[in-house]
Symmetry: D2
Subunit: 147 residues, 4 copies
């Protein structure tokens, strides 16, 4: 079972800081492994709204989650503040793979990092729909090409 | 069924601002009624730690929750930021009643307000224990006497 | 600070059993005080859907939560199963006050009990709307008149 | 971006059925992608406790989560019941890789499936510790060798 190496902040393109909650800590006194995904969700949504890709109004197409994953390197715990760094790693015709690093307080090495694959679908039929060219352009600008 | 009137920020003594999460919104697109309690919990804990009443280390006595309640006046929703105002409303020999107002972004009228009753107990036997005099003094300073 | 006495199962009219989750336990190894409200929500919704008062389809009117509260008597913890007993305590022209008891595994004395006030509103304007006569009839049948 | 194929119930070794909660549904009316991990957590813990590998008492060694992941094939939603199937896919000297399938109500094709890597560590130093031989034996019996 090989493990990825933790990334640094400079490996990501956009950032968002979030507060943690008392209930995020589990019986071991650290942030439960599920909370990381709550933060991924929030960071990605925030990015999409801020960049004009996602609107909160009713809409014809939505993004559904096809795959997620997370590797945990170091414990975080409430009351830490957590900054998520996000980048685009892959752009398909109707899908996007985001990669996210979670940084504890002012640390520069990710405590956890993961991925999040969105598929752009018709809101009713749930059939994949091509990404709009203007959205693809925005996402392309957030792309980091792996070495 | 009579309803309390929403308080203003000036009705509270200490404040803490928290971020909301994507998953806080339910199917109606607003913050689910349960999330308010996650924020109460966090605001009270933060107050107790900042004031030196609660330590995160293992300890002989803990606070258990005896009663909570919330009245909802106006909808909040992710990505709102929420500021909790807290005051002490009642101080028993081993219990404290906190009152909390939740303020949406920069608003001055509470979107929701509630209470939270803590009982100071022995960590093992769960028997009530008198509040320590130095803690009582701190809590007394946060007290607001109702008119 | 007076406290209510814990109710028995016979004090409620309808019941629903729910499983707990690992993450429901907090750092003290018991079910966090917020989880009780997740169970209230679920029990009430289930009742309304089963009784034909609430449909999952898009609709003209919805129920919004005006007030909730809970008194905690005894600790519960994952992996307990929790049975919620529900009754109607008050029926206004457009509002309903439910009372809920939470019973741990096979116990007959409530570990916690609370209330939940729903207001029937127009889905768009959020203005209160009278309860429909056929729904009022169903809710009346779940009513328990306090002694 | 290749995708795994959904498994069937027969691909797993042990099963646990869980109820969903009202708040599990997000604004799209389906179970939010994070809830799957709450169910993974619970299913794995339940397995470990039932098999005598994990005790709820204070202990010298604990399991920490090193990696998780999930592929989503079909939507689930409250009030669905979800059955988790679990198998052991890999056994290292101090780590275990579990694979989990989530089955909606009586369906035989997984709506989602994922993995969960546990590392056995010293509770204080968080250093990896070899799995105990009697625990390894239990886990070996749950192992499914990939074709």
């Amino acid at each position: 079972m090989t493990r990825p190496k933790p990334n640094a902040r400079e490996d990501y393109r956009v950032f968002r800081t979030m507060t943690t909650r008392w209930s995020d800590n589990d019986i071991y006194g650290h942030m439960n492994n599920v909370v990381h995904y709550l933060l991924f969700d929030t960071a990605i949504d925030r990015l999409l709204v801020d960049k004009g890709i996602l609107s909160r109004a009713v809409r014809d197409t939505i993004f559904v989650v096809a795959e997620t994953g997370c590797a945990y390197f170091a414990e975080m715990a409430y009351p830490d503040e957590v900054t998520a760094g996000v980048r685009v790693a892959d752009l398909g015709s109707s899908s996007v793979r985001y990669e996210i690093g979670l940084f504890r307080n002012d640390e520069n090495t990710a405590s956890a990092q993961g991925h999040f694959v969105h598929v752009h679908v018709d809101a009713v039929s749930r059939r994949p729909m091509p990404l709009k060219p203007e959205h693809r352009e925005v996402l392309e600008a957030l792309r980091v090409h792996s070495v």
